[in-house]
């Protein structure tokens, strides 16, 4: 998939095409960029819920769904995601290419997307009151429901502890206690501000008549396309701290399995060569099925079913996650640290390096074979103000040397150890 040069539809609003003929569907996404902050996170996370409830021309859930279903089940989605210290409000529509059905639906689909973004159901200068109140309740349930998925819960807790006082420590779906101050008026005002002031990135993936898409976008999104002054997005990296005191927290819960999550500062510039070294390090250490952690913590010592490391490029930190027996905390922790120590000393083979390079190349192949992942990759690149393509990045990784991997291993610094300790299982 090739990304085109961006077209500036207006100042601060960019359109990019990701052109390919290989899929049977197309996707158009519109992403608003917001800084992640405690004051607005809950409101922003609530917005997609309210917007999905109804629009001016399709005032009920049933009306919107019927329209989308008629367009061969086009899926219109709206969501917020955390990327570095940013919160992205993304609207997206995924639909069948005209060439596989006996009608043309592309323009209708763009209109439907515009309807969602620009013409929500409103009343007296605010959103529909009932929608907002119900969705506040749903948001509350969702936030409280994090605990249902113990792996996600443990990861979120580790994140919160590790990044306390940092925007990245904010829970991306918001806070229950902040919901009470939100009403149909202030939420709508907040949304109107966003539409007017946020930087907007638009992606069109698939096979299109570019001219037609641009013209339709301009016609349908006219009011959104005003110039705007936007400050560059910034993420403060998880930097290495001098004299760090590792934060260790254990929480008990009635579960069969315990969850260990460890957070490491890496502090590596995500667009530098050092970052590629870090990617290679993480892949050999814990980011692959041939990694040190998989082969030792799981295969050799049978301590876990899942154990892996993962990097966050935007924020520059690494997470290790494992599901273990409550009584095996020390064994698992010590083995993980032992394997890290081996990486630091260069105790890994050339085969492991070769495997990691190939593994990462295959992973990037997966990104290129998926519209959603390709869009996500380029959105990340935009936030990093970097214009490397996937192929160029892959090429850079292929030149990483053993010394660069050892160097990367020696930069990571343990910051937080969170243990969700299972006490007793579930009742039958």
């Amino acid at each position: 998939m090739n990304i085109t040069e961006k077209t500036e539809l207006s100042k601060g609003v960019n359109l990019r095409f990701l052109k390919t003929e290989k899929f049977k569907t197309n996707m158009i996404s519109l992403v608003l960029r917001l800084p992640l902050c405690r004051e607005t996170v809950t409101r922003a996370a609530l917005l997609p819920r309210v917007l999905k409830r109804g629009t001016q021309n399709y005032p009920t859930l049933s009306d919107i769904s019927k329209k989308a279903e008629e367009l061969y089940g086009a899926t219109v989605s709206a969501s917020t995601v955390k990327k570095g210290d940013n919160q992205l409000l993304a609207f997206s529509v995924h639909f069948v290419s005209d060439s596989f059905i006996s009608e043309t639906i592309t323009e209708e689909v763009v209109k439907l997307l515009a309807e969602f973004v620009l013409h929500p159901k409103t009343c007296d200068g605010g959103f529909d009151t009932e929608f907002v109140e119900q969705e506040k309740e749903n948001a509350k349930n969702f936030i409280e429901g994090l605990i249902n998925d113990k792996k996600a819960y443990a990861a979120a807790k580790c994140n919160e502890i590790m990044f306390e006082g940092d925007p990245y420590g904010i829970y991306e779906y918001g806070y229950v206690e902040d919901l009470k101050d939100i009403n149909e008026k202030n939420l709508y005002d907040f949304y109107k501000e966003l539409l007017k002031k946020s930087q907007i990135e638009i992606f069109a993936s698939g096979s299109f008549d570019e001219g037609l898409i641009k013209a339709t976008m301009q016609a349908e999104f006219g009011t959104l396309l005003e110039d705007r002054e936007v400050p560059p997005a910034k993420t403060v990296l998880a930097a290495i701290e001098e004299n760090i005191k590792v934060k260790r927290v254990t929480e008990e819960m009635p579960t069969s399995q315990s969850k260990l999550v460890m957070g490491f500062n890496c502090g590596v510039n995500p667009v530098s060569k050092d970052y590629f070294g870090l990617m290679m390090f993480s892949c050999v250490f814990g980011g692959s099925p041939f990694s040190k952690l998989f082969n030792n913590v799981r295969e050799k010592l049978s301590l876990a079913y899942y154990v892996f490391s993962a990097l966050d490029r935007q924020k520059g930190y690494m997470k290790i996650s494992a599901g273990i027996e409550a009584s095996k905390f020390d064994d698992a922790y010590n083995e993980i640290m032992l394997q890290l120590d081996k990486m630091k000393k260069g105790d890994f083979t050339d085969d492991e390096i070769t495997s990691a390079k190939k593994y990462l190349a295959t992973s990037f192949g997966s990104v290129k074979d998926s519209m959603g992942s390709t869009e996500d990759f380029y959105m990340g690149q935009i936030l990093l103000d970097n214009d490397e393509t996937i192929d160029r990045l892959c090429e850079s990784i292929s030149h990483i040397t053993r010394d660069e991997i050892i160097k990367a291993a020696n930069t990571v610094q343990l910051d937080t150890v969170y243990f969700l300790k299972g006490v007793g299982g579930n009742e039958a």
Partner: protein, 430 residues
């Protein structure tokens, strides 16, 4: 071996297929433009197979629960102490495996060295290596996997429903078994299962990508031999009554809000091919019409706060088991259950509406097209079709041809209260 061709002009897709001299059924789906290739090698053997009739003898063995899944884990292990993951790693493939009710499959995706990887796949699956030591080690790993699922409310909700639904059908048993049941697994049992179920006549190989059929067949010739052929596996009939076991199954777990799953039991077994495909699509259309996002049902319950965005619906109609279901979170699962039943009765009385049916068909056709976007999806969907003797290209035409009267008959047959089970996960008290 000779490959025949199936084509569809609407989708612009092709399938090459043939039967290898060993009995292995081979399918190639040529795809250009994708970075990745995909291969999936599956045996028609899953958690449903809990009684082995040993081929060529009168011997019948009751198998411990979870053995098919255990075997899946163990096949990756190799004689020299290494494992197949490491071999795939050197050629850059990303490999995995899964065990379901009726299938165990081994797969990889890669961006190059496709045939080298195919050699590895066919080699390791056909070279079991089990010892007391490596079996005992695996009991620890799988023990953790079982505990992970024990803590997963969605998984518990699902198996509790199946236990409420089926008396004898082994579909009600957890795929991984229990810590206790897997403790009875021995190398000898694993070898017996391998010999029977991993015999070429019971297996399927599906390759997706820009593939040279000749070269793929050479790989197959190298690793799959007719000597291992044991013919079709004779399986005991599952005697399953039409009734359900329990109308409601409840478990308490640490969740924030009750979760519900309401299932309708499929009582007909043994259908495959076109008939199964049609039944699957009819059920999907009905589930869409009854409980889809545009349905009256969804909108009313959502507006009343009885269900939320987590609400979903599904149907799984297979050769040996089947059910349709709706699931979600709710403060009042019993009320949701009553409303589901009442809604179905209302629709039965009022009859189906043409516009609803037409939209449901469009959704399914759209979804079917979308499934062609990934080589993995194609491989995974197609291998299931082939095991069920279904031509995947017939999906669209079959969907378009389904008549309202057929759907109404299916509605009366499948969605009845006496075949319904409510499974609930309740929060722990205090």
């Amino acid at each position: 071996m000779k490959l025949d061709t199936l084509k569809t002009s609407v989708l612009k897709e092709t399938i090459l297929h043939g039967v290898h001299e060993s009995g292995l059924r081979v399918f190639i789906i040529p795809k250009k433009g994708f970075c990745k290739y995909y291969a999936i090698y599956g045996t028609e053997y899953g958690s449903l197979d809990n009684v082995l009739k040993v081929p060529g003898s009168q011997e019948t063995i009751n198998l411990p629960d979870g053995i098919a899944h255990f075997l899946e884990h163990k096949l990756f292990e190799e004689e020299d102490g290494g494992n197949a993951f490491d071999r795939f790693a050197l050629t850059g493939a990303s490999s995995n495996a899964f065990t379901s009710f009726d299938m165990t499959a081994y797969l990889y995706s890669c961006t190059d060295s496709f045939y080298e990887n195919l050699d590895i796949l066919l080699d390791f699956v056909n070279h079991p290596y089990f010892t007391d030591e490596n079996v005992s080690k695996e009991q620890g790993i799988i023990g953790q996997e079982i505990k992970m699922y024990d803590d997963d409310p969605g998984w518990r909700l699902f198996f509790n429903m199946l236990q409420g639904m089926f008396h004898n059908n082994p579909v009600k048993t957890d795929i991984a078994g229990t810590v206790e049941s897997i403790s009875h697994i021995t190398p000898q049992l694993l070898y017996k299962c391998c010999d029977a179920y991993y015999n070429p006549s019971n297996m399927f190989l599906v390759l997706v990508g820009d593939i040279d059929g000749e070269k793929a067949i050479e790989c197959i010739d190298r690793h799959v031999s007719a000597e291992k052929d044991r013919g079709r596996i004779d399986r005991p009939q599952i005697n399953e009554p039409e009734t359900v076991v329990e109308k409601k199954v409840t478990q308490k777990m640490s969740v924030s809000k009750p979760l519900f799953l309401i299932g309708f039991k499929e009582t007909e077994q043994g259908v495959d091919g076109r008939e199964l495909l049609k039944k699957q699509i009819m059920t999907q259309i009905l589930v869409e019409v009854l409980f889809g996002k545009s349905s009256e049902f969804f909108m009313s319950l959502y507006s009343e706060g009885l269900i939320d965005g987590s609400f979903d619906k599904d149907s799984e109609i297979e050769k040996k088991y089947g059910f349709s279901s709706v699931t979600g979170e709710s403060k009042d699962p019993d009320e949701v259950y009553k409303r589901v039943i009442a809604h179905i009765e209302n629709v039965k009385k009022a009859g189906l509406n043409d516009a609803d049916i037409s939209r449901a068909k469009r959704i399914l056709i759209g979804k079917n097209l979308r499934a062609y976007n990934s080589v993995e999806n194609i491989g995974n969907n197609f291998i299931r079709c082939f095991m069920n003797n279904i031509n995947p290209f017939e999906f669209r035409q079959t969907a378009e041809d389904i008549k309202k009267s057929e759907l109404e008959a299916r509605l009366l047959q499948h969605f009845t209260e006496d075949k319904a089970v409510l499974s609930v996960i309740e929060p722990l008290e205090g």
